[in-house]
């Protein structure tokens, strides 16, 4: 795209990129973020507790793009909020571990978390209008991050904000800095949000449905920009989306979530080529595709997300599954690891017959 100058020389503060590895002490080998057995339970007063996320584990390596995919209510957004420590204290129980560069984010104090949020881990939300402050000019909101984390003075911050806006493809950044969010178009707002997120060159970026509110052509621009930024700066990205098309174009590794648990994890190409879990198969079968012959009937998944079994009583997807067997009910299916090609899935009767080299991991 012509808008974003993708050569890394123009990366704002590119000179500090080399020094970053040294002063932040990245440990080679260990993943950048390791989420282990994360669970989030909402415990409302006078209502039964709801396990929104139930033992989710995944890892993100340095520079890797990881997808969390699922339909509404599968716990993908709650997972990201829990990692960022953005869930309310009251009425929520968070369990498990989320180790980021050697620190467990879930046990960190507020002050320490505030230092990490925005600097080391940044987040892009779905709806740019509701995540920008409507009564503060864009420039102030972008500069705020730079002043808080990079300790720049106001003049420096203003100059760098303009460079950031230019970097994300906003024309005439000087004028845009003085404008308020409502004066920008939806795509422009999302770019401004991305500019704020990458302002401190975070090591991990979490994008929660970053393009769902945008039009297709603007979505293509935004995804292209994200890809560019991630590739040129080596930032790791967690992409949370319901759109398998977006996943197919961007992610290295994909985690498919259903009812708060990961039901399948694989690399992008094998996942789409032969999905193991019936839910993944169902999702792929229900999407109308531009590159397929017309007139093939879609094969939707029957029922809705509401028709689920609580995990302790069996597979949550069993009521909607056409490969249901007696073994699916009664005890929760375990995560099964297929060694070659590497993948894990949570199904007793997967679509591709399981080869002999299996081990149960949980």
């Amino acid at each position: 795209m012509s808008l974003s100058t993708s050569d890394s020389a123009t990366w704002v503060g590119a000179t500090s990129a080399g020094a970053r590895g040294a002063n932040r002490g990245s440990r080679s080998g260990a993943p950048l973020l390791e989420v282990t057995d994360l669970s989030v339970t909402f415990t409302p007063r006078e209502a039964p507790a709801v396990a929104a996320v139930d033992g989710v584990s995944f890892t993100v390596d340095e520079g890797e793009v990881v997808g969390l995919v699922g339909e509404s209510g599968c716990g993908k957004s709650v997972t990201s909020l829990a990692i960022m420590g953005l869930l309310p204290r009251r009425g929520v129980q968070v369990g498990g571990r989320a180790v980021f560069a050697g620190q467990d984010l879930l046990t960190l104090g507020d002050a320490a978390l505030r230092d990490i949020r925005g600097r080391e881990i940044a987040m892009i939300f779905q709806d740019p209008l509701s995540s920008l402050n409507p009564v503060v000019p864009i420039g102030v909101q972008v500069a705020e991050v730079l002043v808080r984390h990079r300790k720049l003075d106001r003049a420096q911050a203003r100059r760098e904000s303009a460079e950031l806006l230019e970097r994300v493809g906003i024309p005439d950044p000087q004028r845009r800095l003085r404008e308020y969010p409502h004066q920008l178009s939806g795509g422009m707002r999302q770019r401004a949000l991305i500019a704020m997120a990458v302002a401190c060159q975070p090591r991990l970026l979490i994008a929660d449905e970053p393009t769902t509110a945008l039009d297709v052509t603007i979505q293509a621009q935004t995804l292209d920009l994200l890809k560019d930024l991630v590739r040129s700066s080596g930032t790791a990205l967690i992409m949370i989306t319901h759109d398998l098309g977006v996943v197919a174009g961007m992610c290295d590794t994909v985690n498919v979530l259903y009812a708060g648990r990961v039901v399948e994890t694989a690399e992008r190409v094998p996942l789409f080529a032969n999905p193991y879990h019936p839910y993944t198969v169902g999702l792929l079968g229900s999407i109308p595709r531009l590159d397929r012959a017309r007139g093939d009937r879609l094969t939707p998944i029957p029922g809705s997300v509401r028709d689920q079994l609580p995990w302790p009583e069996g597979c949550a997807f069993a009521p909607r599954c056409d490969r249901r067997t007696d073994a699916c009910i009664g005890r929760p299916p375990q995560l099964t690891r297929v060694v070659v090609p590497p993948r894990t899935h949570r199904c007793v009767n997967p679509v591709v017959p399981a080869p002999a080299t299996l081990e149960e991991v949980s």
Binding site: M1, S2, L3, E71, S72, G169, P171, D172, Q183, S185, G187, M188, D215, V216, T217, I218, Q219, A220, Q221, L223, D224, H242, D243, L244, G245, V246, V247, A248, G249, R268, V269, F272, G282, L283, L284, G285, S286, I287, P288, R289, L290, D291, R294, R297, L298, T299, P300, I301, P302, S304, V305, R306
Partner: protein
Amino acid sequence: MTTATHDSHPNESRPSDGAPLLTVRDLSVYFPITRGLLFDRVVGHVKAVDGVDLTIARGSTYGLVGESGCGKSTLGRAILQLVPPTSGSVRFDGVELTTLGAQPLRAMRRRMQMIFQDPMSSLDPRQNIESILTEGLSAHGIGASRAERRDIIARTLDAVGLPQWALSRYPHEFSGGQRQRIGIARALVLGPELIVADEPVSALDVSIQAQVLNLLDELQATLGLTYLVIAHDLAAVRHIADVVGVMYLGTLVEEAASDDLYAQPLHPYTRALMSAVPVPDPEVEDRRERILLAGDLPSPANPPAGCRFHTRCPWVQPTRCRDERPQLVEHRPGHRVACHFVEDIASGRLQPRQREVELVRPVADTADVAVGPDVLV
């Protein structure tokens, strides 16, 4: 999903003989931009729909795609006369709707119904399903007795795959997909011929979208319905529509049979739109060339002169594009395109260029806030 028997539904299958059910000619909808403290002074117009021609054959599905703000929803509403058109003609089964009086128009509405995007906000939360479905029947005086109405409603519920116990429930008790089925049932009870569906699946989860798309397909097959499906999701529209029209800034830029349009999109905007749709297949995604458009949709209050797409078009030429408005012309059988350089682009003689964002300062920036006299109160 229950496959229902429709033999005695009020809407008997009609032959789909290809005769046009709906003919729209040069339809325009302008919304005035007003300004002024005491009196509204009209300072300009938002040309939401600007001279659209389209024809929908009986029993077929016409898909209308475009980005938000291109006027596709307004066009759908203007066809049903829910928004008064500024000029142009809408003929439904030979009857001119734009000049029809209120009473006959009301009677015509029985034959053309609408399905809305958000099933939650288009259903009254305080009416139960039976009441929602009966309202239309009694308004149009369909069904002689309560028992007869109940019978029609029961058959419609079967047709959309909802259980009979749904009748005594309220909208909040249903999931998104079921609510959309209720919205479809509400349109169907009257036995319409034309259904305008404005983004019928975009508020639903992926797995549910397919259920609703299949349901619309089945209903068309059994009831001989004619659809105008308005959506931004190109893949969904292509799946369900026979003919697809692509809108940009209030005008149709391309119209073709759905398979043709995909096999050979001719208008630069359609090409860009097609290439922007993500495909759930990594191999395809890695291979494909994206045509990235620079910038956003210009303001419809101040549309660019000449071809409306020239500010973002990668194939823009120094001549004609900026000053001469292209007409929708049939370039291949059944394939109409509004572009001066269709053949040159199709043959590859013209190559796309990367474009910088042009700074078009929208005039509507200030006009967004229409200050009416009510502000003074």
